[in-house]
């Protein structure tokens, strides 16, 4: 049985492999000898008090399955966190589901909501899982391309133009991976106005980076609009805000009937999220606010150092106020983004990610992560300047 193409399902075959597979392999080969600004996860280790809470749960023997939707204490801690940070209330009993990372939430939403052929509006450039999860669930992604001149925010008219009578849901991811764009409360209110005119459409708000907002110390979110309460699902998690990527804990909150449908899938496919990690996130949600703030401050310093360095290197970059990414333009330098990144890696030993990995409209840009030490960032931008200068000379 050597030809597997007719064994693998069509949906899986039809999801294209990552646009930058080659670059991936190259970067992996060179790891250790390069400065990596290509990593979409915090460089911080999880704060000790959170790690210890996980360790203690093992000492005490909590090594079994948890209830399907997660320990009630963990859901309660998340509920308290949401009301403290967002000012809205979700019941730990039936409006919160603890998942294996925000990633599982994205998958559950797609499988719980999509009938074959339903359209899902995806706002690019964006996290790579949005499109894939929709396709795996037999949905049809409809791409809205946001623009640099609008700071990569979704405009109400762009949304309006993408809506058809097949639209099932919209998925928004702000603060954004890969652009670092954010949307303020007022900007989101304009999106709400469009949605109010289309009461059938559900909204998924991926807020993994909600705590990394350098303009405001409280998250801004569509869950804060009472008009949308019955059809917004927030996908969130502990990976980015608390530097907990390896623990694999996320959560989904929303109207009870949708959470119940998602729980049904979760119950059969996953059973329950890791128990030890759930004990750790109780500590994070209850005592972690100051850790978040310290890390946010540090990222903000790095953000300014990176932006200054990119300006010195002569790269145009809109000012990102969220997540830990900058998305400068490389237009006019004569290279596609994947060529640019490959040569930068080979010639200057710095790894960054081609913008087209996040959708076609990301072409002409590169994603630079500042989840790295200031020394690495400073050295990388010096090399960037050399590289850009050499390209300009031809």
């Amino acid at each position: 049985m050597s030809d597997y193409s007719n064994k693998i399902s069509d949906v899986v075959n039809n999801v294209p492999p990552s646009a930058i597979r080659r670059f991936f392999d190259l970067a992996n080969e060179m790891k250790g000898n390069v400065i990596s600004l290509s990593i979409g996860e915090p460089d911080f280790v999880t704060p000790w008090s959170i790690r210890e809470a996980g360790i203690n749960s093992l000492r005490e023997g909590y090594t079994h399955y948890s209830p399907n939707s997660g320990y009630i204490e963990a859901r309660q801690a998340i509920s308290n966190y949401i009301s403290r940070r967002y000012g809205v209330t979700y019941s730990p009993k039936n409006e919160i589901l603890i998942t294996v990372g925000g990633s599982e939430g994205l998958d559950l939403v797609a499988r719980a909501l999509i009938n074959p052929g339903d359209e899902v509006i995806i706002v690019e450039p964006c996290f790579v899982a949005y499109k894939a999860t929709v396709m795996f669930a037999h949905g049809v992604p409809v791409v809205v391309s946001t623009k640099e001149e609008n700071d990569y925010k979704l405009l109400p008219e762009e949304l309006e133009a993408a809506i058809t009578d097949k639209t099932k849901y919209l998925i928004l991811g702000y603060p954004s991976n890969p652009t670092g764009a954010i949307m303020t409360h007022d900007e989101l209110a304009k999106i709400r106005d469009v949605l109010v005119r289309h009461p059938e459409i559900i909204v998924i708000s991926d807020e993994l980076y909600c705590e990394l907002n350098y303009l405001s110390d409280k998250p801004a979110s569509l869950i804060q609009f009472p008009e949308l309460r019955d059809r917004v699902i927030m996908i969130n998690g502990f990976s980015k805000s608390y530097a907990m990527t390896g623990w694999r804990i996320g959560y989904s909150v929303g109207p009870a009937p949708i959470i119940a449908a998602m729980t049904k899938i979760h119950q059969y496919c996953i059973m329950s999220s890791p128990s030890m990690a759930q004990f750790a996130i109780i500590d994070a949600a209850e005592n972690g606010d100051s850790c978040i703030e310290e890390m946010r401050n540090e990222y903000n310093h790095r953000r300014r150092v990176l932006l200054k360095g990119l300006a010195d290197a002569g790269l145009k970059c809109f000012t990102p106020y969220g997540a830990f990414y900058a998305f400068p333009s490389i237009e006019g330098l004569g290279l596609r983004s994947d060529e640019f990144c490959e040569r930068f890696l080979l010639e200057k030993k710095v790894a960054i990610v081609p913008g087209n990995a996040f959708g076609e409209c990301g072409e002409g840009h590169v994603r630079i992560s500042y989840a790295a030490s200031i020394d690495d960032i400073k050295e990388a931008v010096v090399r960037m300047k050399d590289f850009v200068d050499s390209l300009k000379k031809g």
Binding site: S18, I20, F23, F24, A27, N28, M30, K31, S36, S38, I39, G40, E41, D43, F127, V128, N177, P178, N297, H301, R304, V305, K308, A351, V353, A357, F358, I374
Partner: protein, 162 residues
């Protein structure tokens, strides 16, 4: 406008940052940084800039004592007079007035246990008002000045995460 606490936290962790570095990180002008640092120095909020050194590594004979001192306060001057006299010795790196079972905690650094014992006998025990002392020696440092000794700093992340 510079947030003084943010500025202080920054240079507390790295006294070698240039004014330009500080300005970029805080998103302000260099002139402002110079002005605010001068203000904080004038107000004696910034007292100096030091270096964290692992002396045990450089000088094998380095030794630190923590000396508990019980005293009868001198009339009119409280504990301050004895504390002041002890603090003036260069090798006393810290001196604190404490609550609890003793009054002063004196941290003293020298070459050997014998040197520290001599200091306690000759310079502390003999002070007027000193009732008794208890001396503890540091055997091993795990963490000092916020820095952990012997922590690996490997980055175990994958090369590219989208």
């Amino acid at each position: 406008m510079i947030d003084h606490i943010e500025l202080l936290r920054l240079i507390e962790n790295d006294a070698k940052l240039s004014n330009e570095d500080i300005a970029v990180r805080l998103g302000v002008s260099e002139d402002e940084v110079v002005k605010e640092i001068k203000y904080l120095q004038d107000e004696k909020i910034i007292l100096g800039y030091t270096t964290n050194i692992n002396w045990e590594k450089q000088l094998p004979e380095h030794c630190i004592g923590m000396i508990e001192v019980r005293i009868t306060p001198t009339k009119g001057k409280g504990y301050d007079q004895v504390a002041n006299i002890i603090s003036q010795y260069d090798k006393v790196s810290a001196c604190y007035l404490m609550s609890g079972g003793f009054d002063l905690m004196v941290i003293y650094e020298d070459k050997s246990l014998r040197d520290i014992a001599n200091f306690v006998n000759q310079k502390i025990a003999t002070q007027e008002g000193v009732l008794s002392t208890t001396t503890h020696f540091i055997l091993k440092k795990y963490k000092a000045n916020g820095i952990m000794f012997d922590m690996p700093d490997a980055d175990d992340r994958q090369a590219v995460i989208l």
